[in-house]
């Protein structure tokens, strides 16, 4: 391995080393504050460690890992959300008994898995990243030992995530059986298989892989676990599942399907379109019947992943690859900060009750009159989820539209419009609940320091990049073009 390659994977090496240091510190001098400070420093240092690699990209480090602008952009997003989740989790766990330190180590491990995932170019590193992320998440979901809901959510997530991993593995094995290679780029050469058997294997293999990925991305019809896990998991962990886990898996899926050329198969595109339309409709329609804010956000995330699939499908159209990468990157950026803001508020409202999280909509009644700033931030995130102008969510959805119009995907655009219309209803319901005049509930909410600042910063970013999106668009154009 050359010196340059070592520099390229410096962030991963550094984060692994810091996790070990943190483990030792927890073992010998257990202190929640120290652990959290180490976590935040580790995340920032890892981000800074991408700087020296920036001049080398794109660079392949062994056949397993490739570091390019695309990987750096998504690594940055992941590190940013992991930092926000760390701050929220500190508020959430600091008053809930002793021995909460290991949670932050698991959070760093899951982040490491996501970082490996976004820069993998080989099925072995894909599985490694996926499982590092997954196994840490099972433990994180079940971490608070109170109540049965967290255990049930963790067990459901474990079984379904395990099954979807086996789908991905079996699909990989089938493709390996005909291609003789586990790298993504090498798959492109066998894309146009001559004889019938290998074509069948390729189709079955990619269908299995995509089935597994649909589970992980919570796309309909494999979305059933999402609301249960969102409701059962502690609010900061839900934020992590919704952003880092889904974002990293989407990033690697886009890389896998574009660099192997699998996406240009017409049967796969038809299947993807059906999945996208189903997710948009199912997500938005099922959310109408919910009274639980965490479940509403779960269904909303199913719908958002459906919108994201429109950009994904664009990648398979002629001349759509660059636009697909650009639009999905911006949409994911918008989705990341909006979701983090929403779950940040849910975390703050949940601090009062140690037995269960603030899921039910009644927790939010009267929030406008007692905690106006918090309520305004929550309103902003909900409007951003709905895609109202002047928020970052609007620009994200605008990008999806541009991608769809350029490649003339009219049916999908129709579903996006219908979904957004229905979506407004349940987002506004939460806002109306917050304006209700009542003395119960919301008056006792105290805004913590770390989480409060995190949510405030996220809200500011949501407005800033909604009004002036140019810096992020330039960043995406500079970095992300490398994959296409």
């Amino acid at each position: 391995m050359s010196e340059q390659q070592l520099v390229a994977i410096l962030p991963h090496i550094l984060l692994s080393a810091l996790i070990l240091i943190q483990m030792m510190v927890i073992a010998f001098a257990r202190n929640l504050m120290t652990t959290v400070v180490i976590s935040v420093i580790a995340l920032i240092l890892t981000g800074l460690a991408f700087m020296p690699a920036h001049s080398l990209i794109p660079i392949a480090v062994t056949p397993l890992i490739v570091l390019d602008g695309y990987a750096i952009f998504y690594s940055g997003l992941i590190l940013m959300s992991a930092t926000a989740v760390t701050l929220m989790a500190y508020d959430y766990f600091k008053d809930r008994g002793e021995r909460q330190d290991e949670f932050f180590m698991l959070l760093l491990l899951a982040t490491l898995g996501a970082l490996i995932l976004v820069c993998s170019s080989h099925f072995a590193s894909l599985i490694l990243g996926l499982e590092l992320l997954g196994v840490s998440l099972y433990t994180m979901i079940s971490y608070p030992q109170k109540g049965l809901l967290t255990l049930e959510a963790a067990l459901k997530y474990l079984i379904l995530s395990g099954v979807s991993s086996t789908f991905i593995l079996f699909g990989t094995a089938l493709i390996y059986a005909i291609s003789g290679s586990l790298g993504f780029a090498e798959l492109a050469t066998i894309g146009s298989a001559e004889n019938g058997t290998s074509e069948l294997f390729l189709a079955a293999g990619s269908a299995l892989i995509f089935g597994g990925i649909m589970f992980k991305l919570s796309l309909a019809p494999f979305h059933m676990w999402t609301p249960d896990v969102y409701e059962g998991a502690p609010a900061p962990v839900t934020a992590f599942v919704a952003t880092v886990s889904k974002g990293a898996i989407f990033a690697i899926t886009l890389r896998l399907f574009t660099s192997s050329g699998l996406i240009e198969t017409s049967s796969i595109l038809t299947g993807l379109s059906i999945v996208a339309i189903l997710s948009m409709l199912a997500g938005n329609l099922l959310a109408l019947r919910q009274d639980n804010v965490k479940r509403i956000l779960a269904y909303s995330s199913i719908a958002h992943l459906g919108y994201l699939m429109v950009a994904f499908i664009t990648a398979g159209m002629i001349g759509g690859k660059a636009l697909a990468v650009e639009s999905s990157s911006y949409f994911l950026f918008a989705y990341f900060i909006t979701t983090l803001g929403a779950f940040g508020v849910v975390t703050i409202v949940s601090l009062r009750d140690h037995e269960k999280d603030a899921g039910d909509i009644s927790y939010y009644e009267g929030l406008f009159w007692h905690r106006p700033l918090l309520a305004m931030m929550f309103t902003l995130t909900l409007l951003s989820l709905a895609g109202i102008p002047l928020t970052v969510g609007f620009i994200g959805k605008f990008y999806i539209f541009t991608a769809g119009v350029t490649t003339t995907l009219w049916l999908l655009l129709l579903a996006v419009i219908a979904g957004s219309g229905i979506g407004l209803f349940y987002y506004l319901r939460i806002i109306f609940a917050m304006t209700k005049r009542t003395d119960a509930g919301a008056s006792e909410i105290e805004i913590p320091l770390a989480g409060g600042w995190a949510v405030a910063a996220i809200s500011a970013a949501m407005l800033l990049f909604g009004i002036y999106p140019a810096p992020i668009i330039n960043l995406i154009n500079n970095l992300v073009s490398s994959i296409a």
């Binding site: 599985i127 390996y176 059962g232």
Partner: protein, 104 residues
């Protein structure tokens, strides 16, 4: 000396059957231990498919993936059994229907 070659189709067919058995087990059975066992069967079916495919190409890649899957399976089941112990201590049952409270 040439080892007795198993045709790749037969090997993959066996793996597919094992995979289907595991998947059926996960979906039909209600006992959490049996579900975790079925998950293990599915993971091992994948591992077998990799061995067969690796043998076809005469490469070590398939066997390396097998090792990777072994460790993944161990990690998943370790966490799964930990959760199972907690659930059993609290509910006194390991039936997945009895612990199910999240709905909607």
């Amino acid at each position: 000396m040439d080892p007795i070659a198993v045709p790749i189709e037969q090997g993959l067919a066996l793996a597919s059957i094992l995979f289907a058995i595991g998947l059926t087990g996960v979906m039909v059975r209600r006992n959490i231990i049996v579900i975790l066992m079925s998950l293990e069967v599915m993971l091992n079916a994948c591992a077998l498919a990799f061995i067969v495919a690796g043998a076809k190409w005469g490469e070590a890649d398939g066997q390396i993936m097998f090792m990777l899957i072994l460790s993944v399976a161990a990690a998943e089941v370790a966490v799964g059994l930990g959760l199972l112990l907690q659930i059993n201590r609290r509910v006194g049952s390991i039936d997945i229907d009895e612990i199910s409270r999240l709905r909607g």
